[in-house]
């Protein structure tokens, strides 16, 4: 059997499930996006841009910023887990960082809403501890709240992947560099990161995609203008029964994530071809 055929057979079952159970139902959503009163047209997209262009930019900025922070924090945590010299500190860190992973998004929205509010638990703790005066208390329930929620929930996800990948790289080069007196931060950037780059990117892309499609966090933390695309989709459907614009927004969101995914894929393609 030729190799591409074997490959295709191995991929086929997974692909079939996604095609039959998601992409087929999606087709009528996609055609619905171009359906304006029964005829083909771009009316839904025009309306989407008229009403929600600032929300699209907002969404993209929020998700990109969150992804960058997630990447940074997961490298820091993963790096310390791999290169940390004190076993006690490493095991404390390993025990601490994971918890948000187990909290569903909707609960993340709920706990952060009551935590980050002006009179929420965080400010109250600071005030009780004397770090802050009641007058200085402010609410973080705007774009900062959304970013916090995303970073809080998704950093452990990427870290878990990254730490796993870091743990399985060859220790000998690290030890060699260490014996030559290289600083840990340099080892992390120059030796460890290049070897786990692909895992990091996969983790970030998956986070990016997840964040783009989460509804409960923007709804519970900040559903005002500007807000995220998913909140507008929910609004179009629930308040107007308007699937046309909702589908158009979904398609725009899909295009945004596809661009991110394609950039990544092109890069791995090049590596794959080697």
């Amino acid at each position: 059997m030729p190799i591409p055929l074997i490959g295709f057979l191995l991929v086929a079952p997974a692909l079939a499930i996604v095609l039959l159970l998601f992409i087929v139902p999606l087709i009528s959503s996609i055609t619905g996006a171009f359906d304006v009163g029964g005829t083909f047209g771009f009316g839904n997209f025009i309306k989407s841009f008229e009403l929600y262009s600032s929300d699209m930019v907002f969404t993209l900025v929020i998700v990109l910023l969150s992804s960058a922070l997630i990447g940074l924090f997961s490298i820091m945590i993963g790096g310390y887990l791999t290169l940390g010299s004190n076993p006690t500190a490493v095991s404390i860190l390993r025990w601490v960082y994971r918890w948000p992973l187990f909290i569903p998004f909707i609960v993340v929205g709920q706990v952060l809403r009551t935590f980050l509010a002006k009179n929420g638990l965080m400010n109250n703790i600071f005030i009780e501890a004397g770090i802050m005066t009641p007058m200085a208390a402010m609410s973080f329930l705007d774009w900062r709240g959304i970013v916090t929620a995303f970073v809080w929930k998704q950093t452990p996800f990427v870290t878990l992947l990254l730490a796993g990948a870091m743990a399985s790289i060859d220790r000998s080069t690290i030890e060699a560099a260490r014996n030559l007196g290289a600083k840990r931060i340099r080892i992390l950037i120059e030796i460890v990161l290049p070897q786990v780059r692909q895992t990091l990117l996969v983790g970030l892309i998956l986070s990016f995609v997840t964040m783009m499609s989460v509804l409960s966090v923007p709804l519970m933390i900040n559903a005002q203008s500007p807000t995220m695309i998913t909140a507008n989709m929910a609004f179009r459907i629930n308040a107007h029964g308007d699937y046309g614009v909702a589908n158009a927004l979904g398609l725009i969101s899909l295009l945004m994530t596809s661009v991110a995914a394609i950039i990544y894929l092109r890069q791995t393609m090049r590596e794959h071809a080697r």
């Binding site: 499930i17 999606l26 709920q110 952060l112 935590f115 995609v209 709804l219 979904g250 899909l254």
Partner: protein
């Protein structure tokens, strides 16, 4: 020696302390709401603690334990099916020369990338047509469609990170292709695969919209209750439900780690 150690613990302690505050601060909120009977301004902490909301969650008609068992069963089946599909697919995508490789990976991403809200009506319709509605199998299929992206993408990354020469060495020693895969490639890729198992498990355990459209009313899971309570602002019920859901999540993680440490990591060195 000990003096030096103490000195180094200062930045370490501060760093870990800040991290712990960030991680556990919001979780303390969750714990407090789970036992709060009355809590409002200007009181910094709950006015009255109690377990009356626990009784209502665990009331016999609420069937919380039954829903929990169903949720866990669905999550485990979802992991098994997803990994069963993802391991061959990931291997092929990482190792074999496939046409349209990028397109296939992209297609698998779509269930996560298109916000699902307007699609569920169509999904439900298809499931009704095939008589899959109200069955555990139907719910597992819906969760698998969403879990596959994690499983396949991570499996692909895990397999492509492995040095090809290792496998070729095994084959040159006379092992069959399948044997080489089983003895050499799979164990090395295992940490990544198991991490993806955790994500698929959690994804399934947190999902409610798909479960409502495809499973309810015959199949009810705990997140359905969680969703209603949390989005209605019923913090007590939502917090309690979230705490209950923590148990299987952490147990699953524990099992996976145990398996990882004893079995797989020992093989990696060889």
């Amino acid at each position: 020696m000990s003096v030096q150690l103490d000195w180094k613990w200062i930045p370490r302690g501060i760093g870990l302390g800040i991290l712990a505050f960030i991680i556990f601060g919001p979780l303390v909120n969750l714990l407090l709401w789970a036992v709060a009977e009355r809590w409002y301004f200007p009181h910094v902490l709950p006015l009255k603690y109690g377990f009356s909301f626990w009784t209502s969650v665990f009331s016999p008609r609420g069937n919380a334990m039954g829903s929990l068992a169903t949720s866990v069963l669905i999550a485990v089946l979802t992991v098994v099916v997803s990994l069963g599909l993802a391991i061959p697919a990931g291997y092929a995508l990482a190792r074999l020369k496939l046409p349209f490789r990028g397109l296939i990976l992209l297609a698998l991403l779509i269930p996560q990338a298109f916000p699902n809200l307007p699609v569920y009506v169509n999904i439900a319709r298809i499931f009704y047509q095939y008589g899959l509605n109200g069955t555990i199998f139907g719910v597992v299929l819906v969760h698998v469609t969403h879990g596959l992206v994690y499983a396949v993408w991570i499996a692909t990354a895990a397999f492509s990170a492995i040095d090809r020469e290792l496998e070729e060495a095994a084959r040159s020693m006379g092992a069959s292709a399948l044997r080489g895969f089983w003895d050499v490639t799979l164990p090395i890729a295992a940490p990544g695969l198991l991490a993806s198992a955790i994500f698929v498990f959690l994804e399934s355990l947190d999902e409610f919209t798909g479960t409502y459209f495809v499973g309810a009313p015959d199949v009810t899971t705990l997140p359905l209750l969680l969703y209603t309570a949390s989005s209605g602002g019923n913090y007590q019920i939502a917090s309690i439900t979230a705490l209950i859901l923590l148990v299987p999540s952490i147990a699953f993680m524990f099992v996976v780690e145990k398996f990882l440490r004893s079995d797989v990591l020992s093989k990696v060195g060889h």
